[in-house]
């Protein structure tokens, strides 16, 4: 078995207009910049992106929005940095893009639930707030809760440190963040790693098992060691 591929393009061209794409990353750690940069060139449109943050105007997730490729953003952090409006905020104001803002734990748990075969769950987080509006509610064990549905995607784009040819993946420190859960929640998972290995990773270094990974691409990022 060998999931390694020479070119990101041959894999990313499978992403059709209207796809839902999950993108790993928290701050600058774990953002799949090699894949995003190629995806921007291929320019599929009408995408829904599921990403923790679109606050940085110079990041690639934001660049997809600027390039008019995105029709909906599901995120926890949408506010652009600075006092002026980001391109995303301008599009939001002009009704050109849809936003679903979620508490970060709800965001990650909806992704995890999807990958674990849980269609929905109740949580007290968001109850009685603007982000809980319109959601089904129930009092469970004395706690007012909102119902949150599992969130699934067509493609997960994930950045990692090392991957072996079987598709087993290892992350470096906080590069991990949403990577392992997004990989479980999407039909197709594409991982870019700094090192693609012929030999299997040591069993006890594997943080994302091969069953969740479909394609491996070499990242153009610098290696930050392990």
């Amino acid at each position: 078995m060998d999931k390694r591929h020479q070119s990101a393009e041959e894999v990313l061209k499978e992403i059709k207009d209207g796809s839902t794409i999950m993108i790993s990353g928290f701050g600058e750690a774990g953002v799949p910049n090699t894949l995003l940069s190629q995806l921007k060139d291929l320019h599929p449109t009408n995408l829904t992106i599921v990403v923790n943050s679109v606050t940085r105007p110079h990041s690639l997730p934001h660049a997809l929005i600027e390039a008019n490729m995105v029709s909906k953003v599901i995120t926890t952090s949408a506010r652009g940095r600075g006092k002026g409006l980001s391109k995303f905020e301008e599009k939001l104001r002009d009704g050109e893009i849809e936003l679903e803002c979620l508490p970060q734990g709800t965001f990650s748990e909806r992704i995890r639930a999807s990958g674990a075969g849980i269609p929905a769950f109740f949580t007290p987080v968001g109850y009685g707030t603007k982000l809980g509006e319109g959601k089904e509610t129930r009092n469970i064990q004395g706690k007012d809760c909102v119902l949150e549905e599992a969130l699934k995607g067509d493609f997960a784009l994930i950045s990692a440190n090392k991957a072996d040819r079987f598709g087993n993946v290892n992350f470096n420190y906080t590069q991990m963040n949403f990577g392992p859960i997004m990989a479980t929640a999407c039909t197709t998972t594409i991982v870019e790693a700094r090192q693609l290995l012929e030999e299997p990773l040591p069993h006890n270094h594997i943080q994302l098992p091969s069953v969740y990974v479909d394609y491996l691409i070499e990242s153009e990022e610098t290696d930050h060691g392990s």
Binding site: F26, G27, E28, A29, G30, N52, T55, T76, S77, A78, R79, G80, L85, S86, F88, E89, L92, R93, L99, C101, L102, P103, Q104, G105, T106, S108, E109, I111, R112, T123, P124, V125, G126, G128, T129, K130, L131, N161, N172, Y173, T174, Q175, M176, N177, F178, G179, P180, I181, Q207, H224, G225
Partner: protein, 224 residues
């Protein structure tokens, strides 16, 4: 003159129990870690997946793969661990974090918190982990200026801004007072010497009383 941001953070740091697990929000709260000696065995949790955040990394040692939730390049303390976002929020939502220290726009007399949507025109929302932390941590503290730049109270009868969570704040550290949220309204535990009880009342929205053992709020001079 009231306390500056570092002094507010210093004051809150004095109340942390040794050995506790603490999550610090952006802005003033993150300064709290500057005033906690390593011997106290306090573990700072960062919602991007760290238990045991150490001091900010020196430029040379900075690793872009090792950041906290505020995107600072950080170090790890001995005994620290790294995990994914689902595990991090299970830690938070499962009530395994002892104290969450957050900034705020408003706190109501019943402990409602508004800290995620400033209502600025055209700006999109940013909630991050604030709701998860405020609802789920064993204790929620707020660090904030007592009043806004145009002299409105941030302590209010009812929050006007969108809520983060209801009835969650237990203690507020401001530039002029340390205040508990009680079933009987705000209760000042400490007050700086240059502010009278009357001035405190005038500068506070909602019902506020001085505790019978209310003491003078003091903090050392801190060089930044």
């Amino acid at each position: 003159m009231g306390l500056d941001k570092s002094q507010i953070a210093w004051r809150a740091a004095q109340d942390l129990k040794n050995g506790s697990v603490v999550n610090l929000g952006l802005g003033t709260p993150v300064l709290v870690s500057n005033f906690v000696e390593s011997s106290r065995d306090i573990f700072f949790q960062s919602e991007n997946g760290i238990l045991g955040v150490g001091p900010e990394a020196m430029q040379k040692a900075a690793n872009p793969d090792l950041v906290d939730a505020g995107s600072r390049k950080v170090t790890l303390i001995p005994g620290a661990s790294i995990f994914d976002s689902a595990a991090s929020f299970a830690m938070i939502r499962g009530g395994h974090v002892d104290v969450t220290i957050l900034g705020a726009f408003e706190v109501s007399v019943s402990g409602d918190l508004a800290n995620w949507d400033s209502g600025a025109a055209g700006k999109a929302p940013l909630v991050g982990g604030a709701m998860d932390l405020a609802v789920s941590a064993k204790t929620t503290w707020v660090l904030m200026q007592h009043n806004t730049k145009d002299n409105k109270s941030r302590l209010v009868k009812d929050c006007l801004l969108p809520l983060t969570a209801k009835n969650c704040v237990e203690r507020i550290y401001t530039d002029i007072a340390v205040i508990d949220v009680t079933s009987d309204g705000f209760l000042a535990r400490e007050l700086i010497s240059s502010v009278s009880e009357e001035e405190l009342r005038n500068r506070t929205g909602g019902n506020i009383k001085l505790a019978s053992d209310c003491c003078v709020l003091k903090a050392p001079y801190i060089t930044s």
